[in-house]
Symmetry: C2
Subunit: 147 residues, 2 copies
DNA sequence: CTGAAAATGAATGTGATTTTCAATTTCATT
DNA sequence: AATGAAATTGAAAATCACATTCATTTTCAG
């Protein structure tokens, strides 16, 4: 069984919350960790199903919610369908509306400016989303559709 | 008829696009301009309906899309339902997840940092969303639900 | 080994938005 | 003012992603 660290983290979360350790959850975590980038529930379901034909969509769906709660996955919504990525240090995204490419960025200056702004309003920030939509370098030249 | 400037802008957009000037569109724009803040289609529909009982939800819905295309309205989606605001200079938002209050902010430093980041990837930004979710000053103290 | 609690998954529900389509309205042209 | 092609309207139905239901199966503490 691969991904020992994450599997143990999941097991620990399940124990702490009186939830059960099932083969489905283990399998879905495995497949998720092998998938790259920012994957939709549907794509993840297809990937899961290719190895474990009996696992249902609902279980994949619910498990991704669980992995988010456990801090192992992060959910984003760039275009109306949720996408999941392996949790890692905070970052924001550039999203190419032509080819779908997603570039991650982080900027301490922006983060601190955000905090200053919120503080000036006495506002406590719990989370934020900062996404730049447009065309990536590769998509600049080609003359296709899309805005 | 109030809101002459905006009504004329709409009329101009309609002409330029071979669309027709209808009483519904005029009425919806009027009601929209009188509504304050960031209003949902549903709330706008209720407001429209109180003055023009015959106007249907679909028309309100479609007209708001039209007003966005015409540059008179901006659409945002903070929580799963679209909200519209009267178009004005660029800004981003602080959203209180307890009371729903929306505070607007603008930060030239953030905007230019964004542009630098995009440029470093050869990325052309067409639009962006930057939203800070949390609790507003008034909601900090009270002990209610919600994350 | 047992049984209570949780999980599964197929089916169904939900809520916002979008589309369909027959009837109505607009408006450039007679 | 009359005509008619094209656009609009609005009630109803469809769509889409997501959420819930519930009968059955599985987990796991005792
Ligand atoms: Mn990411
Ligand atoms: Mn605003
Ligand atoms: Zn691209
Ligand atoms: Zn508040």
């Amino acid at each position: 069984m691969a991904h020992e660290v994450e599997q143990r983290a999941l097991a620990r979360y399940l124990e702490e919350h009186s939830l059960k350790h099932t083969k489905q959850r283990e399998a879905i975590l495995d497949v998720f960790l092998e998938a790259k980038g920012h994957i939709t529930s549907e794509d993840l379901y297809q990937a899961v199903r290719s190895r474990h034909a009996q696992i249902g969509y609902t279980t994949v769906y619910r498990t991704m919610k669980l992995l988010c709660e456990a801090g192992l996955a992060h959910e984003h919504n760039f275009d109306g369908t949720a996408r999941y990525e392996i949790a890692h240090e905070h970052h924001d995204h550039l999203v190419c509306t032509r080819c779908g490419k997603i570039i991650e960025f982080e900027c301490e200056m922006i983060e601190s400016a955000q905090n200053r702004i919120a503080a000036s309003y006495g506002f406590r920030v719990l989370r934020h989303r900062h996404e730049l939509y447009g065309h990536c370098a590769e998509c600049q030249t080609s003359r296709h559709s899309d805005s």
